[in-house]
């Protein structure tokens, strides 16, 4: 019986040689400069308009407060703006700039913006055809007629997936930092950032607020992004086992991820939607202290929902893969 390490070796080589990671890296290398440029324009614009960051912050607070009095804005948006105003005020009160333009803050906000769609899509590039490609090319007949139990083969594929998800998260951060550093400088690891804002109904609880360094903050974000990406990858693995065609499993997963984003934005009065995995993907909102898409969601809740979905998907994938007949 071949050992698991050899099987993981095989799977890692296959994903690598299919150039899946190369595509992900290429997409990042093309996209990040675009965002860096946009960010740079904003920074230049602000620099010309405001004397220093304090007056800029004050202007944002005023803008958002004014918007709150408008009748036309839906209640969910108001809630979000109210929370933002409180946060900004806290930063102003403590004389801390929340948006110093540097590579670390850029990387942080890039992660926050990519966690619910961009990172899942890149993960799907690896995960969606992990099993279905073996089926559609027929290589599964060679793979499953070797003296190895099927659960070991699927386990090796899942472990490989964990490795590549980690690699994608690390590569995203590394590339975002390296590329944005060219424009903003590589400083900023030690700057303070406040965490612990707890949205309570329409208000924000400030009792637990404390400062951490930007570096620690980024690391925590990476952990959260990694976890939600891993759950997406695991569900994609299950879909890849269930559906024979790679295209079908990719489309299914993309539809799930995108519909989650839409649902989250609807900030719906449909409360039971919070048990869907796809509205829970943006774990970084809890770190930022902005209100979650649906009331009643907390970090613990989202982690539990994602964990349950991931575990169920993994169990289904193993149950089906070890028993299914390879008919064609």
């Amino acid at each position: 019986m071949a050992n698991l390490l050899a099987l993981i070796h095989n799977e890692t080589i296959k994903v690598w040689r299919k150039k899946r990671f190369a595509v992900v890296a290429l997409v990042l290398i093309v996209l990040i400069p675009v965002f860096v440029y946009a960010q740079m324009k904003i920074a230049q614009n602000n620099a010309s308009k405001f004397a220093d960051w304090r007056s800029e912050l004050q202007q944002r607070i005023t803008d958002n407060t004014n918007a709150l009095s408008s009748e036309r804005i839906p209640e969910e948006w108001k809630r979000w703006r109210r929370a933002l105003v409180q946060q900004l005020q806290y930063y102003l009160d403590h004389d801390v700039n929340p948006n110093t333009p540097n590579a670390v803050t850029f990387t942080s906000s890039f992660l926050e913006n990519s966690v619910s769609l961009f990172i899942p899509l890149m993960v799907l590039a690896v995960a969606s055809d992990l099993v279905s490609a073996e089926r559609s090319t027929g290589t599964i007949k060679m793979l499953l007629t070797r003296p190895v139990r099927r659960w070991r083969i699927l386990l090796s594929k899942w472990v490989t997936l964990i490795l590549y998800v980690s690699l994608i998260v690390v590569a995203t951060v590394a590339l975002a930092y390296l590329i944005s550093g060219l424009a903003f400088g590589y400083e900023g690891w030690g700057e303070p950032v406040f965490v612990g804002f707890e949205p309570q109904g329409s208000d924000i609880e400030l009792g637990a607020v404390h400062a951490v360094t930007r570096g620690a903050y980024l690391l925590m974000e990476m952990g959260l992004v990694w976890f939600s990406a891993l759950v997406v990858a695991t569900i994609a693995l299950m879909v890849s086992v269930l559906l024979r065609s790679t295209a079908a499993s990719l489309v299914t997963m993309m539809a799930a991820v995108i519909s989650g984003m839409i649902l989250a934005n609807m900030a719906s009065s449909w409360h039971s939607a919070k048990y869907l995995f796809n509205v829970n993907l943006d774990l970084t909102v809890y770190l930022q202290g902005t209100p979650p898409p649906i009331e009643g969601m907390t970090l613990g809740f989202s982690l539990a929902v994602l964990g349950v979905w991931g575990a169920a998907a993994l169990a289904t994938a193993f149950a089906v893969f070890t028993k299914q007949d390879i008919l064609a």
Binding site: T145, P147, D325
Partner: protein
């Protein structure tokens, strides 16, 4: 009697016992049983859609049988694939390898899946299939014949006691088929058992020692190839310059049966090459006498042709025999 039974059991490398498979409500495989002995080339003959491929997939744990079992060297394939499949190399349908890896990397990939396969062994199988020149090229650049050879190399990696090949001549040119046949014979001479499926009786006849014939999801005959072929019988085709005269002579005799147009299944291409030929069933030994008789009667013979027995004919014979008996 008992003693020979035990001895033949020890020689059995693959034992298929009462296989049955339902897919949905449909029964695909009704009853398939046969034994493959050590060192023999065993043919598995059946028309397309007879359950050949489903059976082969059950032999290598790609499909779980509804009931019955498959033993390789005494190990149950379904319960302990990690033990049983050590003794098996197989190519199910086409030899599909990873096109984005080189031939060598593909072999390394499959070598890692079984303990005890060294680099030397990989080099050995590459030599056996004579692929050393192209082995470091990507598989997507290979021709079908080369993929076939790489597939066989992969199947041979674990030095299996049993090699299963599903329609191995499909898509090969005549030269390739001939080489493959010689290759298979060589493997069998080295003590390996081979299990080869085909829908062509002539293929099986040329390659195999024994054969199981499957039709409608059931094995309808198992035996030595020669015996079965003899049962199939064959036709003798006569082409005369004056067909009417020839026909009259043939009809006049009691031991020649004339076969009408719709009653035989002779290859259309053959009939087209012998226009106006009269199809008969007759004793092989009487053909020289008949020729003399035609010559004496002034009927000139353009061609006499004995057909090779076809699978269809054999099926008719076998199923007829069943319904009578």
């Amino acid at each position: 009697m008992d003693k020979t039974r035990i001895e033949s059991d020890r020689d059995v490398i693959l034992s298929v016992q009462g296989l049955k498979k339902n897919i949905g409500r449909k029964t695909i495989i009704r009853n398939v049983s046969f034994d493959v002995r050590a060192g023999e080339i065993f043919g598995f003959l059946g028309p397309n859609g007879s359950g050949k491929t489903t059976t082969i997939r059950m032999l290598v744990d790609l499909i779980k049988p509804t009931s019955g079992r498959v033993l390789v060297c005494g190990e149950d394939v379904n319960r302990h694939p990690e033990l049983a499949l050590r003794y098996v190399g197989c190519i199910v349908e086409n030899p599909e390898m990873y096109p984005y890896l080189t031939g060598w990397e593909n072999l390394e990939h499959f070598a890692r899946m079984q303990e005890g396969i060294t680099r030397e062994r990989i080099r050995e199988v590459v030599d056996i299939v004579q692929m050393d020149k192209r082995i470091h090229d990507k598989v997507k650049t290979y021709s079908l014949g080369m993929r076939q050879r790489l597939g066989i190399a992969q199947a041979l990696l674990g030095s299996p006691g049993l090699l299963i090949l599903d329609e191995p001549t499909n898509g090969l040119d005549p030269k390739g088929i001939k080489e493959l046949r010689e290759f298979i014979r060589k493997l069998a001479d080295s003590g390996m058992s081979l299990f080869i499926s085909s829908h062509l009786l002539s293929e099986i006849q040329l390659m195999c020692d024994r054969v199981a014939i499957i039709a409608g999801g059931e094995v309808i005959a198992v035996g030595s190839v020669d015996e079965l072929v003899k049962q199939a019988g064959s036709y003798t085709l006569w082409q005369f310059d004056k067909p009417e005269a020839g026909l009259r002579l043939l009809e006049g005799s009691g031991d020649v049966a004339i076969v009408g147009d719709g009653e035989h299944r002779i290859d259309e291409a053959l009939l087209a090459s012998l226009p106006g030929a009269i199809v008969t069933v007759m004793d092989e030994e009487s053909i020289p006498e008949w020729i003399e008789r035609f010559v004496a009667a002034g009927v000139r013979i353009l061609a006499v042709h004995k057909t090779a027995p076809s699978l269809e004919e054999l099926f008719l014979k076998l199923t007829e025999g069943e319904s009578v008996g």
